[in-house]
């Protein structure tokens, strides 16, 4: 089933809708095959899959036989993933059933269907391989909305890269001495970053070198970069990945908690604790959901285990896992 189409691409009410064409493919990158013999006049369609996973899309058709642009893909897997596929056929955003209801009017705060858009800007710095922005768009106005996120870090961001002679070209790298060389990097040295509005947060990612895709699971859309940067082989926490390290847990919706985004390539279980400067225990952090390929995020809301807000001041975090202990300071302001 899908949401009915009510507007043209230019935003005017659609008055000559005839129905829908249904397309199917065996893999997301295949050429789609139209599988309906007649225009489908309703917003539902059934297909026999025989245990195989197919990828379906829908195009609206007007009474003159004109087709709209293709919809998002939906697969027939158990997860019923909604897939946004970029033009290169490999960069994608995969939204499982657990979170893709956010796109429906009844499940987002705007009350309208949400569409997805991908923008790619030129790499700003030499070490950036790809510079992408995944956006939510309001279905009615086509305006970008940036203040919503998925309920879980289940959105699978997959960013592809090119390999030439076994190396990944860095198109914006300075030319070599002869003016012809293009700097390259090994496919082993690719790391994903996400922009939180102020800083680039290092996420790591899972590198499928055969498919030439680096992926990470996230609850956020927004700006992502694939950079020439050696991924961590064990638990790591960059200082920039702790934000806002000076936070104000007063419940006003701004800087109410501190996020600690860890690279956790071995998917190790983690324990996080907060102490005061004298070593007195203040709080135990809720363990993060461990999903392969997901940066592990610990958060602290500035409260003790008993639920009271801590006094303002300096605190020490300690995170243990993967045979490592990571410590540093954060601060509560009130």
């Amino acid at each position: 089933m899908w949401e009915p189409v009510t507007q043209t691409a230019s935003g005017v009410p659609l008055t000559n809708l005839a129905g829908y064409n249904i397309y199917r493919r065996a893999t997301p990158g295949d050429v789609p095959e139209k599988i309906n013999s007649y225009v489908v006049p309703i917003v539902a369609f059934g297909d026999r899959m025989n245990g195989q996973t197919f990828y379906y899309s829908v195009r609206a058709v007007d009474t003159d036989g004109n087709e709209s642009a293709e919809s998002l893909l939906v697969d027939s897997s158990e997860n019923a993933n909604v897939i946004f596929l970029a033009g290169d056929g490999r960069t994608s955003l995969v939204l499982p059933q657990t979170i893709n209801d956010l796109l429906q009017p009844s499940h987002n705060k705007y009350g309208v269907p949400l569409a997805l858009r991908l923008k790619e800007d030129p790499a700003a710095t030499p070490n950036v391989v790809r510079n992408l922005e995944f956006q939510f768009l309001r279905g009615d106005t086509k305006q970008e909305v940036s203040d919503i996120s998925f309920s879980q870090a289940d959105a699978d961001i997959q960013i592809s890269y090119e390999v030439i002679n076994g190396e990944v070209p860095l198109e914006n790298a300075p030319a070599g001495e002869n003016g012809q060389d293009t700097k390259t990097v090994s496919p082993d040295q690719l790391t994903l970053y996400w922009y939180n509005g102020s800083n680039w947060i290092r996420l790591g990612g899972v590198n499928d070198k055969s498919g030439q895709v680096v992926s990470v699971k996230s609850s956020q859309l927004g700006r992502y970069q694939l950079r020439a940067d050696l991924p961590s082989s064990d638990l790591a926490l960059n200082k920039a990945n702790i934000y806002p390290s000076l936070f104000t847990p007063n419940g006003d919706g701004f800087n109410d908690r501190v996020y600690m985004v860890l690279e956790n390539p071995n998917n190790a279980s983690l324990r996080g604790d907060i102490y005061d400067l004298f070593g007195r225990h203040v709080a135990t952090l809720a363990p993060p959901t461990l999903t392969a390929g997901t940066a592990s995020t610990l958060t602290w809301d500035g409260k003790t285990n008993a639920g009271s807000v801590t006094p303002s001041g300096l605190y020490v975090y300690r995170i243990q896992g993967d045979g490592r202990t990571i410590t540093g300071t954060i601060s509560v302001a009130r």
Binding site: P244, L246, F254, T327
Partner: protein, 420 residues
Amino acid sequence: MKKPWLFLAALLAISEKSPAAMEGLGVSARSVGMADAFSAVADDSSAILHNPAGLTQLRETALSVQSANFLGGLTNKSNVDTNSLALVHPVNEGQRGVVGFFYQNFKASSYFTDQTFYLSYAKNLSSQAFGMPGRWSVGGNIKRFTRKYEPDQYTENAIDDSGMGTGVPDPLFATNGFSKTVYSADAGLLYQFGEKNRNNLGLSISNLNRPDISLGKDGDRVPLMNRAGLARKYDWGLLSMEIRKVNRLSNESDSEIALGGERRIALPHIGSLGLRGGYSEGTRGFRNVSAGISFGGPIFTLDYAFQFPLGDFSGNGENNVVALSFNFGTGKSGNASASHSSSGKLAGGAREIFPIPPTDNSNQANPLYGDSLNHYLARKADGASIQERLKLLEDLYLKSGSEKTHMIWLAQELGALGRP
């Protein structure tokens, strides 16, 4: 002849244990070396922080400056440091009490800076105060505390509950600014009793009025800290303990006990050596062990102390304190603590070199020598003036019969008073 004294104590301290600015713990190598079990000792300028009543034990105008770095053992390094300056002045050689000033600047990485100014006053009470013989002292502080937060990219572009920047400033800072100043008060009591007033009982309460230091006036009150300590001073040093009760969290109360000791060893013709140790533990897994060593010469004293956490917090780096004190000039008497050899402290952290008198006070040449020696020690413990001490030492010299052990001690004692 009366010579003016000038003390300039420059202390360099490195520690990984931070004094929360309003708690004032752990800022001197000596107190850290004894696990901060200092409220009943309180015989140097850091008494302002532990028990201001202890200032009455000081007889010299003193100035000390300190600098410290904390939390150096963290894997994600943070620059946490403090600088402080203390000035203590006995009014009319302490007859009208002792006034003190303390300034502390605590910088918590790039997050905020705390500045605290203390004005202190301490005074002896009647020796029969409260109907109990001994040496009674009371003291208090008035404090001005300012916390100033540092703006950063997230105070200007606050993060929402999904972890994404909102593009607008954090309303807490936008509405209230980045700094807050409050005033607070401390009070202390010191009771010294028993033989030569060697037994000390110290009580202090910090932050009596518990001001709200929050920008948003949401009840972030500075904790009330209660300290009760006992110390016993010996010719060889001291033993001390302290119990602390603090309401740091709104619905939990912290209780802590600290034990400390100090051993002082005279090094004839060189100076003195001090050895210290301490242990403290309390609620919420608070456990620390500490130790320290000091060497005091005619001009300077070098202190070192380390402290490291035990229990869950262990492995986060040891705590180190190094203190270097310079002492210029000669003149007035040392502290008025009961046991001159227990701490050897002069005001402001500079140390008088306290030789230990011969254990056997008897003297074959003159049986009255022992009595005179005991009288001298008692007067010294009571804070006798330099003139009186010199006169008594002269009397001791005449009665010493030139016995070698007594002569060495007399020479050292005179040397400590600036008399060759």
